[in-house]
Amino acid sequence: MKILVAVKRVIDYNVQVRVKDDGTGVVTDNVKMSTNPPDDNAIEEAVKIKESGKAKEVIAITIGDDKAQETVRKALAVGADRGIHVKVDGIVEPLAVSKILKKIVEKENPDLVFMGKQAIDDDCNQTGQMLAAILNWPQATFASKIEVKEKSLEVTREIDEGLETIEVNIPAIVTCDLRLNEPRYASLPNIMKAKKKPLEQLNASDLGVDTKARIEQIKVEEPPKRKAGIKVASVSELVQKLKNEAKVI
């Protein structure tokens, strides 16, 4: 079995994001970037399945500018076998990402495609479902547990009401939740070894995918600021404020 895992380079989850003064986007210069957190879970799960003997190969793919390769190198350092970088500059919407991934799926014929359930930059939560749609494959989104069976996966999904379990036939798409597993850290020797693993480079235009944006970003603004609050000295003061000042209890 072959597993393709899509990873995205985003602003690190610990960075306090700032809006650019001209309203064209957010500040990315000199800002720490890293792999989208649930994409780390997707890689980890694929590597674990390989380690269990149920998969033979894990391929990590990223779509983005040259620096996006860092996320593939990181995936290679934690156990992916080889990487693919599809070069595109600028914002690529989930629909275009899914079309690029479809081309790669047609070329590589993976049995499973994993990715994070949501990227923490645009917060779209679309790509996995879109890829499943255009491949006409089943989708198991928001996965917090995956059991690999002979010809199917049993997947536990985190939904608003609690948990849902579905069984999807292979080939399938899985989008991973943060609780799926605990991603491992790359050791220094593995980081060094990862540099020797193959990383294929392609251009989105060579794949015949139109990546032109369908959604115009008109402006990006700071969210409305909350007015500064106060510290209360005691629980009784807090309750009095809630009762008499805020009038919420």
Binding site: V26, Q139, F142, E154, I159, I166, N169, R214, E221, I249
Partner: protein
């Protein structure tokens, strides 16, 4: 131009966020139709027809919809979208799972999780965990939009009498199958719509200590929330998680207990009307969004809080 809202329901009732989505959908265009896909779901179609904002209900009743899988929903939705300019549903786990599958097959770039309708093609949506708001304009002919339910008031549920039209399902999808759903039943208000939410974080230390939170929740008729750290640590189940990758809540009162205030948690609660933070670390980032901060050990503060509430003559429910 007209809008098709995909109803979320449990085959007997509409789920509450469908009413919020109806409000948003009717702001896009007043010609609002609702598509109800269910099994033995006549009561749902009837409830949708009674929303005064709704002009028409299309009802497809078939056993393939018993468990609301995105795959079976999608083929039927695609059969019904020809006359609509917009396909809309809530941006909760139901809509997040479903809408991109529909959008991709319509070759539409979906607009996710909108918090305001600026015009028929332009919307406001949070990005980067709500640390920025983007105004975006969709250039696709048919638009697929998901709605952050807590940003729109629920539509009135009675007074309407829209026509209900029966229709037929699309193809059944054979490659996936529903196994089971473990819903957490609770007598408390739903987290997404509760007027008061009290949440615990890593500072709670274990699941047993959440009793301190539930005692206060009982008193305030509040829903119980949690930070991702508390859920990851197994103190409480995932359906309680508030944050960027959990639920977004906008209650009148949000009480954060033992929660430091990571960016991803703030994303889920910082639009709440009044925020209270109880934390023993005075430097915790949660205090930067709190209207009332109490720097205290939660194990002392929570029993006192309950005691003070007990002293009050009346408490809003």
């Amino acid at each position: 131009m007209s809008v098709l809202l995909i109803a979320e329901h449990n085959n007997s009732d509409l789920r509450p966020f469908t009413f919020n989505a109806a409000t948003a959908a009717s702001k896009i265009n007043e010609n609002l139709h609702v598509l109800v896909l269910g099994n033995k779901s006549d009561s749902v179609a009837k409830a949708a027809s009674e929303i005064p904002l709704v002009k028409k209900v299309i009802h497809v009743d078939n056993e393939i919809f018993d468990n609301f899988t995105a795959e079976n929903y999608t083929s039927t939705i695609l059969k019904h979208v020809d006359n609509y300019s917009h396909i809309v549903c809530s941006a909760n786990t139901f809509g997040k799972n479903l809408m991109p599958r529909v959008a991709a097959l319509l070759d539409t770039s979906q607009v996710s999780d909108i918090v305001n309708v600026i015009s028929e093609d332009t919307f406001l949506r949070p990005i980067y965990a709500g640390n920025a708001f983007a105004t975006v304009k969709s250039t696709d002919k048919k638009k697929c939009v998901t709605i952050r339910p807590t940003s729109f008031d629920p539509a009135p549920s009675t007074g309407g009498s829209a026509e209900i039209v029966k229709s037929e399902p699309g193809d059944k999808f054979e490659s996936s199958k529903f196994v089971k759903r473990e819903e957490i039943k609770s007598d408390r208000p739903e987290l997404g719509t509760a007027r008061v939410v009290i949440s615990g974080g890593r500072g709670m230390q274990n699941s047993d200590n959440f009793k301190l939170i539930s005692a206060i929740a009982d008193k305030l008729n509040a829903a119980i929330g949690a930070s991702r750290a508390a859920v990851d640590a197994g103190y409480i189940t995932n359906d309680h998680q508030v944050g960027q990758t959990g639920k977004v809540v906008v209650p009148d009162l949000y009480i954060a207990v033992g929660i430091s205030g990571a960016i991803q948690h703030l994303a889920g609660m910082k639009e709440s009307k009044v925020i209270v933070a109880i934390n023993k670390d005075g430097e915790a980032p949660i205090f930067s969004v709190a209207d009332y901060g109490l720097e205290a050990d939660l194990f002392e503060a929570l029993p006192q809080f309950l005691e003070e509430l007990n002293k009050l003559n009346s408490i809003q429910k």
